[in-house]
């Protein structure tokens, strides 16, 4: 075998594995072909990256180290509590290696099929929500909700000039988003999510140097390196990482940054 030959991590027979399934959990952004298939087959979708249940995150320590990405710890918490028929987890360049390892752990721990995908979709759906005028929490909710749909988001807001930027993944703790003005534009992987191109590294690294921008990453996520690097390149960038909950110092940093750099208008 050619050593340079690309070996896919994706599950080949995913269609058969989803036969007669009623409810699946997704992790990351599975390819459009998979999402479309789920819709055509009327299979309900739960986004396991989101906080779907109120159980204690400490329950996950049986499966994952305590010091680990809070999003993936949430994924496992959801997966062990929800009554799912299968889990579809993206392990391609649009997600992360940590998800690849979590897929293995879920496969060993759950009695349901775990389907690995590699999303390399490159058809751009556009990013009107990221650039519209809406409370930032609502923007991120709509963007994350859009992951479950094969269509572009309905009723997108009108474009609006930005006064501030939020770069990064949708945070586990959405309360952090309350601190930003409605005129905040969304960048980073969240923008890739809306565009349905999660592996678009150029789009992920894009920012607007004219507006003060918070470069956010979940603690213990590989994206902390990119967030910090881009913040250092941005003329008015603030790097911020947060673990499970947004502490007072993180909130104060955002509040002070937006006020002192004129981004809170």
């Amino acid at each position: 075998m050619d050593n340079n030959q690309y070996t896919s991590r994706a599950t080949a027979n995913w269609r058969q594995m989803l036969d007669k399934k009623r409810r699946v959990g997704i992790v990351g952004i599975p390819p459009l072909s998979v999402i479309s298939f789920l819709h055509q087959s009327s299979i309900a979708i739960d986004d396991l990256d989101a906080m779907l249940i109120k159980a204690d995150l400490e329950m996950v320590t049986t499966y994952l180290p305590r010091v680990y990405c809070a999003i993936l710890r949430t994924v496992v918490l959801n997966a062990i509590h929800l009554k799912l028929d299968a889990v579809i987890i993206d392990v391609g360049p649009g997600k992360c290696d940590a998800a690849f390892h979590v897929a293995t752990i879920l496969e060993e721990s759950l009695d349901i099929p775990v389907i690995r995908t590699e999303n390399r979709d490159n058809h751009a759906f556009g990013t009107p929500i990221a650039q519209g005028r809406l409370p930032l929490q609502e923007k991120l909710l709509r963007i994350t909700e859009g992951v479950k749909s094969p269509q572009a988001a309905p009723n997108p807001p009108e474009p609006f000039p930005a006064s501030a930027g939020f770069w990064g993944v949708p945070p586990r703790d959405f309360s952090i988003l309350e601190l930003f003005p409605d005129t905040t534009h969304v960048y980073g992987w969240s923008r890739c999510m809306e565009n349905k191109t999660p592996a678009d590294a150029d789009l992920e690294a894009y920012f607007n140097p004219e507006i003060p921008t918070v470069f956010f990453a979940q603690s213990f996520c590989a994206k902390t390196a990119l967030a910090r690097y881009l913040a250092s390149r941005h003329p008015h960038g603030l790097y911020l990482d947060v673990d499970v909950h947004t502490g007072n110092s993180a909130r104060a940093k955002i509040e002070a940054f937006l006020e002192l750099s004129g981004g809170g208008q």
Partner: protein, 219 residues
């Protein structure tokens, strides 16, 4: 108006209605629970005041009021945490607030001073240092060193130098630091910072509140 900076160990107050008024300091544990002032900052300040300004904003405004340079780094070392603001060309460039890994450094220094009956004005900066990431973890270094025969004053000096270097690195290792907070009065700590240091004292956040007040009244 009464302005207040509510720190973990000490609170600082200023009455702006009194001409030539000077700030006063009250130990936090001696505060009346019924105290109510006009404008506050500090982690403990919200419940004592009608209006509140977060500590980083107060620190930044204090720097704007006191430092007549367009490029500066202002580091505040308190009892419980360390925080900094960095300005370039007169604009905010970076900031940080370490309340977890920088926890209780100032508090621990004061605790050690009292426990070992030390006078920090007489201690020299040691040649070596402990690797200190927080006050609590640093204590065990001191005890280990003392058990191994290192004099108490030397062990505590290494600890103080360790936290000074930790604070310096947290502030991105600048060439010059404007220092705020109670540790300005600790010559061992100031001398242990491996760069030029300009101590501004413990009322920088009150200066920030005064500037905030002036900006609010002007708008």
């Amino acid at each position: 108006m009464i302005l207040g900076d509510f720190g973990t160990s000490y609170c600082k107050f200023l009455d702006t209605d009194q001409a030539e008024a000077k700030p006063t300091i009250v130990a936090t544990k001696e505060l009346s629970p019924d105290l109510k002032i006009d404008l506050a900052t500090g982690h403990n300040g919200k419940r004592f005041a009608n209006q509140y300004v977060n500590e980083l904003i107060a620190l930044a405004r204090g720097g704007e009021a006191l430092i007549k340079e367009k490029n500066f780094l202002l580091l505040d070392c308190g009892s419980r945490d360390i925080k900094f603001v960095q300005y370039a060309d007169g604009k905010l460039k970076d900031m940080g607030w370490n309340a977890e890994c920088g926890a209780s450094m100032g508090f621990t220094i004061e605790l050690l001073e009292k426990y070992y009956d030390l006078d920090f004005t007489t201690l020299n900066v040691p040649a070596t240092t402990f690797s200190v990431t927080c006050g609590v973890l640093g204590m065990s270094h001191i005890f280990d060193a003392v058990i191994s025969g290192v004099p108490v004053a030397e062990a505590v000096s290494r600890f103080v130098k360790g936290i000074a270097i930790n604070a310096y690195r947290f502030a991105n290792s600048p060439k010059k630091i404007y220092l705020s907070g109670g540790l300005c009065d600790n010559p061992l700590f100031v001398a242990s910072l491996p760069c030029e240091v300009v101590p501004l004292g413990r009322f920088v956040l009150l200066e920030g509140l005064q500037l905030t007040l002036a900006m609010n009244q002007g708008s």
